[in-house]
């Protein structure tokens, strides 16, 4: 089975987000882009499938932020090929435009299975997995916690629902799956292995094809919510704050 995994880079929330002077984009000067968490799980899911059933895993990323690091890491973790799409505008694309570009590339390579995270923290005008499925006309299920391939020509996924429920769904291949999490935590590779991949492996580069951008939305402004609109913040030393918590609990009859 040929599996393509799409890796998208999203802002690192450990850094303070700054809004660009335009007011409608993030100030990229202060941004660090990291691999989106559910894409990390999508890669793990792809590698699990490959280990179990054989096949080939190709990781694909738009050239943004630490994309190269993510691609070398993917190779070190077990991906067979890594592709970087270049020619991405500085401010990036909306999700639907990005999906149109990636969709054009995947249409050519025609993998059996396309895995990507179900949602990224910077999604605003869409989610990648569903958008890709729509563009490619492929069957699609998102919010999965496991993907298995017990029979030929199809995958068996578990889609999560509220309250701990899930549905088991059979999906004919080729298909797009939006992964929420893999059945096991993304594997860790030592930095030395990633460094080695940087020396011995290559990332193939491809100019992003130009495709008609889907009708967009007008972003009027990006803004940060007022902090702590609701909570009454306790202050003092950790001891003092811990005692205040105890007092609050006592006043509510919660200390037994």
């Amino acid at each position: 089975m040929n599996i393509a995994v799409l890796l998208s880079m999203v802002p690192d929330l450990v850094e303070e987000l700054e809004i660009a002077p335009s007011g409608v984009a993030l100030d990229t000067q202060w941004l660090r882009y990291l691999l989106s968490e559910s894409d990390d799980h999508a890669l793990e899911q792809a590698l699990l499938l490959k280990e179990r059933y054989g096949g080939k895993v190709t990781a694909l990323a738009l050239d943004r932020g630490e994309a190269e690091e993510a691609l070398y890491t993917a190779l070190a973790r077990g991906a067979d090929e890594a592709v970087k799409l270049t020619g991405i505008p500085e401010e990036g694309w909306g999700k639907r435009a990005a999906a149109a570009v990636v969709g054009a590339v995947l249409k050519e390579s025609a993998p059996d299975l396309i895995l990507t995270g179900v949602q990224a923290i910077d999604d605003m005008d869409g989610h990648m997995a569903g958008a890709l499925a729509g563009i490619l006309g492929l069957p699609f299920v998102g919010v999965t916690r496991s993907v298995d391939a017990p029979g030929a020509g199809k995958v068996l996924v578990q889609k999560e629902y509220p309250g701990g429920m899930a549905a088991e769904i059979e999906v004919d291949l080729p298909a797009v799956i939006g992964v929420l999490s893999a059945p096991q935590p993304p594997r860790y590779v030592p930095v030395a292995r990633i460094r080695e991949a940087r020396k011995t492996r290559t990332i193939s580069e491809r100019e992003a094809p130009s495709v008609a951008a889907p009708e967009g939305l007008v972003i009027r402004r990006l803004f940060k919510p007022e902090p702590a609109e609701r909570a009454e913040m306790l202050d003092g030393t950790p001891e003092e704050m811990a005692r205040q918590i105890v007092t609050i609990l006592e006043n509510r009859g919660l200390v037994r």
């Binding site: 802002p11 929330l13 987000l17 968490e37 639907r96 949602q119 923290i121 910077d122 999604d123 605003m124 005008d125 869409g126 989610h127 997995a129 569903g130 958008a131 499925a133 729509g134 006309g137 069957p139 699609f140 299920v141 998102g142 068996l156 578990q158 889609k159 629902y161 309250g163 701990g164 429920m165 549905a167 088991e168 059979e170 004919d172 298909a175 939006g178 929420l180 999490s181 935590p185 889907p214 009708e215 939305l217 009027r220 402004r221 990006l222 940060k224 919510p225 902090p227 702590a228 909570a231 009454e232 306790l234 950790p238 811990a242 005692r243 918590i245 609050i248 609990l249 919660l254 200390v255």
Partner: protein, 331 residues
């Protein structure tokens, strides 16, 4: 793209014969928005033998009820094909979906197949001079975007909890329009084979009066006993956000949030949890919430009653010590 009317459609989500609570939040807001647009509010109910559910959707001007064995269980492909066919015939202005497991799949797919814009995770919807203006939440609640959509059809996914469900409830009997599926469903390439119930046997966190909730800030599985001990002292249980469950440190039954449990304990202590909407929707109705987070801007502080901006490993041992000292049996 085809020009659209002014109607507002709400996709009705249901699971195991019950309409999801979130659908009523959409209907309540949809009612208001349809009024401002001068259109009708239409509830789209697709499934098999779902007509009895229509009686709970009286806030809508009409219910489009599409029944077909092929729609019995949700698949983005099957339900998406039906929705698309209906919307192409009688285009609405706005399609509202929950930002839920089914809603986000369906909205993303429908937006791409129909070529209509989509704004996800909306927490505000307004009408300004016939323009639909929405606020979308991003970056785990640390960023908001105000977006204007054009004059044609647009799809939105709406965050659970953004609007009150009260306004979506009504005793009125709705007008129900029964339709067969407008498209054949035999060729659908996705098939639900079974529903999986949550694993039983572990602690039922929905019944615990006190919950000590740990997030990624707990850092290591070795640190869990710190939370367990506190839970023991307060007669409660330990629950967690998704990353802790994904690491396999606690079973799925302990997960609070969108794909976990919805809990309403007397006391919820959030330790090292950022407050992403997917987590918050599972705990926002707790009677008392105290959050400990080293980041003073963490969105969890917008939900908590009391906030402690500090390292949990500084606060937790003292809190446990103080509570242990208050136990009558304490040595």
């Amino acid at each position: 793209m085809s020009t659209s009317g002014q109607d507002v459609w709400v996709y009705v989500e249901h699971l195991k014969g019950e309409v999801l609570g979130h659908t009523y939040e959409l209907l309540g807001k949809g009612r208001e928005v349809a009024g401002a647009l001068g259109g009708r509010l239409v509830a789209v109910l697709a499934g098999s033998a779902v007509q009895p559910l229509a009686s709970t959707l009286g806030v809508a001007d009409s219910v489009l009820c599409i029944e077909d064995a092929g729609l019995a269980e949700f698949t983005p492909e099957g339900h998406g094909a039906v929705l698309r066919a209906l919307a192409e015939k009688d285009p609405p202005r706005l399609m509202l979906f929950g930002a839920t497991s089914a809603g986000m799949d369906l909205a993303a797919l429908t937006s791409a197949t129909m070529g209509i814009p989509l704004v996800v995770n909306c927490k505000e919807i307004g009408i300004e001079d016939d323009r639909v203006v929405v606020t979308s939440q991003m970056c785990g609640g640390k960023l908001l975007g105000e977006v204007e959509t054009g004059g044609n059809m647009v799809a939105l996914t709406v965050l659970p909890g953004a609007f009150p469900s009260q306004k979506g409830l009504s005793d009125r009997a709705p007008t129900v329009q029964n339709l067969p599926s407008p498209v054949p469903l035999e060729g659908v390439r996705t098939r639900v084979t079974r529903l999986l119930e949550p694993e039983a046997g572990d602690v039922d966190i929905t019944r615990a009066p006190v919950l000590i909730a740990v997030g990624r800030g707990i850092q290591r599985q070795d640190n869990l006993p710190l939370a367990e001990e506190l839970a023991g002292l307060l007669g409660g249980a330990v629950c967690a956000s998704r990353p802790v469950i994904d690491q396999g440190w606690l079973p799925l039954t302990r997960q609070v949030g969108k794909s976990g449990m919805v809990v309403k304990p007397k006391f919820y202590l959030a330790l090292g949890i950022s407050g992403a909407s997917e987590h918050v929707e599972g705990m926002k109705d707790s009677e008392l919430t105290i959050a400990v987070n080293s980041d003073p801007r963490a969105p969890i502080f917008d939900v908590a009653d009391y906030g402690v901006a500090a390292d949990m490993f500084d606060v937790l041992p003292i809190l446990t010590e103080e509570l242990r000292a208050r136990k009558p049996s304490a040595p």
